[in-house]
Symmetry: C2
Subunit: 390 residues, 2 copies
């Protein structure tokens, strides 16, 4: 059997993503938690859950740090001890990894992992500033670099080195928007065409509006257990069989190459090695498409195609729903939305649905192995997890 189980996912929940006017993050988290509890009747939340590890990027949006106890409270699991982890947009990916450590340590039989971000209560300018805090203050923020600008540098380098085109980037948006129309929880539920993407206004050349992911509100959660007790809670567990965490220098100015992310390559290698698998074993993946170029680079760094061939990979149709390796069936950050702290566990949620046959109109046939890829900042952090159907 491929991949020794490190932990089992026995339930998961996701709030509707979008502009959730009037809902604070604690309410969105409770919405995600309710789904996880409702679909796992054998779980006794107050008795069983031994820890909550919750990802959240920025205290600025709601002027609230120390949010972990609030989330324990609103999940109804007090006095389960809780902690927030933060590595920018990879915060809840890190929550999964530290949830795994807690499970494997033997000190916690059942843990909740999750994430949340409330963003649309702020103006786009404010959100852009808060997100920029994930880049280096003295040498990036201070000089006016925002995240679209940083990823635009990567896109330009990739175009220059490999001939990647704006049309190829647009195809990522077209694919993910299509998938989003099949996901009732997605923020954006409409198709876009290549022409619409190419003619949308420029944000940071060559990235246009439709190359960028969404500013969204949302929350996610999942229940992890020791593999040997998973069937107390569900007949259809999903096992986490690989975990990788890569860290690189925060600033682009410190990196040798802008066309590839070292943190992703490190995280992918660790996860594949732990699972005893290679890229060709992956049946379905959620990758961090904060910008369309990020998904193209992810194809390459995760080994789905060779370096420089990410543009051709999307052109070939391989990562579409009917392709050989469907990527971002949920709609991705691009269409499902990107409430940054929620994203890592939201990716897990989609893979959980796919591997348990609950993905409805976007179900990938006969998938057994899934992968999630969650970036922090401009790629100083990457968390990769690999999953197997139970």
């Amino acid at each position: 059997m491929k991949g020794r189980p490190l932990a089992a996912i026995v339930s998961a929940g996701l709030s509707k993503f979008g502009k959730r006017d009037g809902f604070s993050s604690r309410e969105l988290f409770a919405e995600a938690v309710k789904e996880a509890f409702d679909t796992c009747p054998n779980l006794d939340p107050k008795k069983d859950i031994k820890a909550l590890i919750v990802g959240n990027m920025s205290e600025a949006f709601e002027h609230q740090c120390h949010s972990a106890p609030i989330m324990s409270d609103w999940a109804g699991i007090l006095p389960a001890p809780s902690v927030r982890v933060e590595v920018a947009c990879a915060s809840s990916g890190a929550a999964i990894r530290y949830g795994l450590f807690a499970i494997i340590s033997g000190l916690c039989d059942v843990v909740m992992v999750g994430g949340f971000e409330k963003m649309t209560n702020r103006t786009t300018l404010e959100a852009t500033e808060y997100l920029a805090m994930a880049s280096d203050f003295p040498l990036e923020q201070w000089n006016g670099a925002t995240f679209p600008a940083l990823f635009a540098l990567m896109a330009t380098a990739h175009m220059h080195k490999y001939g990647t085109t704006e049309e190829q980037m647009a195809l990522v948006a077209v694919k993910n928007h299509h998938n989003g129309t099949l996901n009732p929880k997605a923020h954006m539920q409409r198709e876009v065409t290549v022409e619409q993407v190419l003619s949308s206004r420029i944000i940071a050349k060559p990235l246009k509006l439709f190359d960028c992911s969404l500013i969204s509100d949302g929350a996610s959660c999942a229940i992890l257990t020791r593999p040997d007790i998973a069937r107390k809670y569900t007949d259809t567990p999903v096992y986490i069989i690989g975990s990788g965490h890569g860290t690189d220098a925060i600033g682009l100015y410190e990196r040798d190459d802008l066309t590839s992310l070292k943190a992703t390559r490190i995280a992918a290698k660790e996860a594949y090695d732990m699972a005893g698998l290679s890229p060709k074993d992956i049946d379905v993946a959620e990758v961090h498409d904060c910008f369309t170029i990020a998904e193209i680079i992810a194809y390459e760094d995760l080994g789905f195609c060779n370096p420089g061939e990410g543009g051709k990979f999307i052109e070939s149709g391989a990562p579409t729903l009917d392709g050989s390796l469907p990527v971002n069936t949920s709609g991705g950050l691009k269409a499902k939305g990107h409430p940054v702290g929620a994203t890592g566990v939201a990716q897990l949620y989609e893979i959980f649905l796919q591997l348990t046959g609950q993905a409805d109109k976007r179900q990938v046939d006969d998938c057994e192995i899934g992968l999630t890829h969650n970036l922090g900042g401009s790629g100083a952090t990457c968390i990769v997890h690999i999953y197997r159907r139970g």
Copy 2:
């Protein structure tokens, strides 16, 4: 032998605490790390360290989140994967706990834990606002409650219920300031008298200026290993033998009793049970004296004395350097200073010095068992660790 080792501390480092003009948190962290590396020559940082878990409360002070990769970089341990954990002032206490999980899981043989906060680059008003983010936004911050106000409510309740006096609270400040004069790394290096404390200006009645801990810059770190490999790195390891983490509702308005912190009682019970010890076994402790009343309540919640007798406990002299259970030999948050994210691991640092006989003028004779108690916010989070000399 009392207490099965969960992990070993093989080295630790602490920056000078204080108003460190011109130093950013990454430089302070590097200062702490340098001490830990210099005193552990057998450690090969880049090769041995498998993860960094770093506590930091607020991205607001330096307009910087995603600080974990920066700290990996400035520690010189890239590509060691790093994550920030945040539970307000208990952030690096939580880093210790999640470092333990990583070690016990068997997936990491050596991890660095640490914490940092840069605070004095901001005005006191700004710092007060940022710290207030650790309380509930809609029902505490929004109504103007700052942390001195919240702890003043607890002090008032304790005085009303138990007859605790302002003089008793002042004695905590006197003791910790005295200890601070013996600690070259302490922010404040001067004695205070009961009269000075009582006559200092009122911040939030009954708390006066000298009842409050300091706004400081600083950083801390420690190297944890599997117990069985600790002697590769040092002849004098200190073992972590108990870990407890309690979480309670964030708002005072949700709690039954303002004179005791449930999160501390939960964390202490878990840690004592894990260590197989009771309060009478503790030889030296660092407790979270963010305000003098907090130390008095900690005496009671940790079982050093009975409920309501914390005032008498300090009056008796028991927690002084020459007493039966010296508390805050470092000077505590009150005199050593309280760069909030650094505090949890700074407490561990003091216990590491004490249990390895390196505490110089403040050395407690013949101590074998130590304890640290780290609060988040107004006590929604508490982390307790128990240590044994190797």
